[in-house]
């Protein structure tokens, strides 16, 4: 049987995920670890949007570099705006939060980070 070439799925169609590169201004973020950052982001999201949204949003910390105050967060595309708007209430803990970039693939974001 001849081999059938499978077309590559376009990044924008892959499970509707978005990768967000965040930069924190506060020195406090340097003493955080990935787990405590996740707790902080998910608790804040739950405070702003509710527990049902949190379960569907699928917040995942892909990478966190405390020394550079940089984090890459994966989120469902449908909840991107809800997630970004919830960051307004997080600033007391992490200072000024800069949304550096939002990309459909992790690869494109990691290239930016470097």
């Amino acid at each position: 049987m001849p081999k059938k070439r499978i077309n590559v799925i376009r990044p924008t169609l892959r499970q509707g995920k978005r990768y967000v590169l965040l930069r924190f201004s506060q020195e406090k973020s340097k003493v955080l670890d990935q787990r405590s950052l996740y707790t902080m982001l998910s608790n804040n999201f739950q405070y702003a949007q509710g527990i049902f949204s949190l379960s569907e949003a699928g917040i995942t910390i892909m990478s966190f570099e405390p020394s550079k105050c940089l984090a890459i967060v994966r989120i469902s595309d449908d909840y991107l705006d809800k997630f970004l708007s919830s960051l307004l209430f997080l600033s007391t803990d992490l200072g000024y939060i800069l949304v550096e970039s939002v990309k459909p693939t992790l690869k494109s974001l990691q290239a930016l980070e470097k």
């Binding site: 201004s25 991107l80 705006d81």
Partner: protein, 197 residues
């Protein structure tokens, strides 16, 4: 290229390097006018990105003494809001959200539409009293949309921790029920440039 803007207090300039915040390419710096001496012009440093002056009136009687430049004022009571909207000199009403009873109603929206005023929402107000501010903002936004009044969402920050990123402000505006087309227009600096002309 689109020019995105934010409004900050002059104290903010002393501690920050604005060029590091790449998403904003035009900063409006608030100069508070509390007494007559504050009217004496002090020039802003010429740095990149661009800095523009905005007068923030604590006392509405100074409005007639400012000849050029955008004037913003904040009303704490319904009467003050009505006076600001009726004034020909004042361009922007800052923060129509009150900590007590609502101070902005349909009549205010109608007067604002006639006077071509801009309503500026202070993002830090949503941090101070989220429940009340979101509830009042949603109500005010429906009135502003109905009467075609321009609105803007700004940080009014006096320090870096109070600054709100452009993406966060845009997403927040979307969550408050604004359409994409309106959002693109109200975050562009052109909205304030038109007012100046």
């Amino acid at each position: 290229m689109k020019k995105y803007f934010d409004i900050v207090f002059d104290g903010f300039l002393k501690e920050q390097q604005l060029d590091k915040i790449s998403s904003i390419n035009c900063w409006y710096v608030v100069k508070s006018i509390k007494k007559k001496e504050d009217l004496i012009s002090s020039n802003l440093p010429s740095i990149k990105p661009e800095l523009k002056k905005l007068y923030f009136l604590e006392d509405l009687s100074f409005a007639t003494q400012i000849k050029n430049g955008l004037i913003v004022a904040r009303g704490r009571t319904a009467d003050e809001v009505s006076r600001i909207l009726a004034s020909k000199q004042i361009d922007i009403l800052a923060n129509p959200i009150s900590s007590d009873k609502p101070i902005f109603d349909e009549e205010c929206a109608r007067v604002a539409s006639e006077g071509k005023k801009i309503i500026a929402f202070d993002m830090n107000e949503f941090r101070r009293q989220p429940y009340k501010a979101i509830k009042q903002a949603k109500f005010i936004i429906t009135l502003l949309k109905k009467h075609r009044v321009d609105m803007i969402f700004c940080s009014f920050a006096d320090g870096l921790s109070k600054l709100v990123d452009l993406q966060i402000r845009k997403s927040f505006a979307k969550e408050l029920g604004l359409e994409e087309s309106i959002i693109e227009r109200i975050f562009d600096e052109g909205i304030l440039c038109q007012k100046k002309e």
